[in-house]
């Protein structure tokens, strides 16, 4: 079998075979050479052709692209710095792919030479048998290639470009093709962390982002667990009816409810001030709440945002917790009841730890999700009211600030790229810790 041939140790081969294997590998320094040496003519021609195509591509286009990536253009209006940057990145990807191919063909020459030494008849020499072999052994690659290609362009490529933009002076003063962009090294970070205007904005946006994430997520998780506990009581009638209602906030597309709430919280004409508060004042004794300046006062806008997110986000936790509650053995409660545990003790020592043990990773994703909850912040009041300077409103979180820095009046692309990187680092580090601690992410062979 070829796998045994490929895994044999050096000493298992005769002197002459060793020499052949060494030569085949050595010849493949020119791609295809080793394959020719192994008498796999078809494969050799294909590999050599790939090499030739790469050479032609590299010298006709690639050198220029790399040069453009370094200089980002020399003449304004003629050179478009951004396109030069993208072409340079593309060229680097081409080189990486080629290097990968190069290593694979070296490895292939070595492996086939080993097979050749032991079982020469197992080597595929005809074009047809090579193609059949590619299909048989390469099937998983054929299945995954479309996914890889799209991910390369839709995920990896934008991230690389974002990282590069961070090190340039790309902002509203330098918009290609009218003007060129330059590499400026770490100047962007200096702006964010040292320049007082940006630093102050960044710090206040960051602190509200953290408060928002903790408050809104904890509220939605708390409400979810509470409703699940309430609904889990055996005596409840109309469980199906209440069950459907509790799921409605999840079933209706979020942008519709957020826009509806945004209208309801209108301080002068919205339903909260004209209908809900008067209702409470009339029907509950001793209550006399004045109209509240939603969307005008930052504090009340933040309260509204957190409340609405609780409304929107709890059903998912409710469903999750309900399924967990049903998996807790009833003997645990019976045993604790014999020991005289109170309802509160049962919750603290049995129910809650069990929920956490199963759902902790999902709770964490809820926190990271709200950390980047753009639509809630932007659709409710576009990050307003007021301004913290540098395009940021008083309820902007990092992600919506980035959006404004990119799409606003005087875009700061380099700063938004740098903040993006900071956001991503936070989210990635937290998620990695969680992933490594939970078994959900293990992959067996």
């Amino acid at each position: 079998m070829e796998s045994t041939a490929a895994t044999k140790k050096k000493e298992d081969f005769t002197k002459k075979d060793q020499e052949n294997i060494r030569k085949a590998t050595l010849f493949s320094i020119l791609p295809g050479g080793g394959q020719f040496y192994n008498k796999q003519i078809f494969k050799g021609i294909v590999f050599l052709a790939v090499f030739a195509v790469f050479l032609v591509q590299f010298f006709s286009w690639g050198t220029g692209a790399l040069h453009g990536l370094v200089t980002l253009g020399t003449t304004p209006r003629e050179d478009h710095s951004l396109f030069l940057m993208i072409e340079g990145v593309l060229q680097i990807l081409v080189i990486v792919v080629f290097l990968f191919f190069y290593v694979v063909q070296l490895y292939d020459a070595n492996r086939v030479a080993k097979i050749n030494a032991i079982t020469p008849d197992k080597v595929n020499r005809s074009a047809k048998s090579v193609i059949v072999n590619v299909y048989e052994n390469g099937f998983p690659y054929l299945l995954t290639i479309p996914a890889y290609i799209i991910m390369l362009f839709a995920i990896i490529f934008p991230v690389v470009v974002t990282i590069l933009i961070m090190f340039t002076n790309y902002d509203f003063n330098n918009i290609p093709p009218a003007s060129l962009i330059q590499w400026t090294g770490l100047e962007t970070f200096q702006k964010i962390f040292v320049l007082s205007t940006y630093r102050d904005t960044f710090m206040s946006v960051l602190s509200w982002t953290v408060i928002w994430t903790l408050a809104a997520t904890t509220l939605q998780i708390g409400l979810g667990i509470l409703t699940a506990m309430v609904m889990n009581q055996p005596f409840i009638k109309g469980k199906r009816f209440f069950g459907v209602i509790l799921l409605l906030p999840w079933a209706v597309p979020a942008f519709i409810t957020i826009l509806t709430f945004s209208n309801m919280f209108n301080p002068s004409a919205g339903a909260i001030n004209t209908q809900v508060i008067p209702f409470i004042n009339n029907f509950i004794p001793f209550f006399d709440i004045p109209s509240i300046a939603w969307k005008i006062e930052p504090f009340w806008t933040k309260v509204a945002l957190i409340g609405i997110q609780g409304w929107l986000g709890f059903p998912y936790i409710y469903v999750l917790t309900t399924s967990i509650l049903q998996s807790i053995p009833s003997e645990w409660y019976e045993a604790s009841a014999i020991d005289g545990a109170s309802t509160m003790q049962k919750f603290n020592y049995i129910t809650f730890p069990h929920i956490l043990s199963v759902a902790a990773p999902i709770f964490i994703t809820q926190y990271t999700g709200n950390f980047n909850n753009f639509s809630m912040i932007y659709l409710f009041n576009e990050g307003g009211p007021g301004s913290l300077g540098n395009n940021a409103g008083s309820t902007d979180i990092l992600i919506s600030w980035v959006y404004k820095l990119t799409t606003g009046q005087s875009p700061q692309y380099n700063i938004s790229a740098a903040i993006t990187l900071i956001i991503s680092m936070i989210v990635i580090v937290i998620s990695l810790i969680i992933f490594n601690r939970s078994s959900a992410f293990e992959m067996e062979d």
Binding site: L82, I86, F139, P140, L143, T144, P146, A147, I150, M151, F153, A154, I155, I156, V159, V161, T162, I165, Y170, T227, V230, Q233, F235, I245, L246, L247, L248, W250, A251, V252, P253, F255, L259, T260, S262, N263, M264, N266, A271, Q275, W311, Y316, V319, L320, I362, N372, F374, S375, Y378, L379, I399, V402, Y403, T406, Y413, T420, I423, S424, S431, A440
Partner: protein, 284 residues
Amino acid sequence: MMSQNKKKRKIKDFWPKFFTYAFLIIFSAIIIYPLLITITSAFRAGNLMAFDLNFDGPFTMNNFKRLFSETLYGTWYLNTLKVALSAMVIQVSIITLAGYAYSRYRFIGKKSTLKFFIIVQMVPTTAALTAFYIMALLVGGLDTHAFLIFIYVGGSIPMNTWLMKGYFDTVPIDLDESARLDGAGHLRTFWQIVLPLVRPMVAVQALWAFMTPFGEFMLARFILRTPAKYTVAIGLQQFINNPREQRVTLFAAGAILIALPISVLFFFLQKHFVSGLTAGGTKG
């Protein structure tokens, strides 16, 4: 003695029940109130600045008529359907193939690649807006649906491939092996033996992919620039956020036409939704 005990018991039971139902009823009212406002406003006459719960009438179907005669809502709806269906077909094909490979085969880079992509994908899409903008400029993708579909599909591949793999793992591998022994090739084993067994997950994935463009706002708004290209989410936002021309009754009517089919689909497939989401978490 007995009856007194019973009575005590009843009183003891009364308060938990009272608070439970009171809680559920108030909570349900808070959930239903904004939704009911939207539904009733869709049938109210005239232009309102802001809406509230109001059953006074008169109620008309006029808003729905105006939606299609005075605004581009019909075009937006068709645009959204087009984007949603294309994204769904492309996305489901890609992740089903890749998920199968990850579940059934060993190959170079299997362990590291998907994890790598899932991690890189955590860089929020908003963040890559500038990069997407430059890419769109370069390939002429600005203001096209194709580019939007491309971003939707790309961003959804890593996590959904992972979920798909998890579902394929629940199909016993003996099935594949006996099919292979009977002489079925790779493709036939996949297509005729394994694929029919993962149909529920394929359906859920298709629904997710289909629903995203109906609710996604940020990317659509960024890529699509002319009103005739809008999807419903951006279109409706214009109705409610334009201070000069508040058309909340039109917004409400338009919202109902989106929320109704989406919610029905949601309740229809809700069980699979939850199991799909938690499959990874409860496996270990």
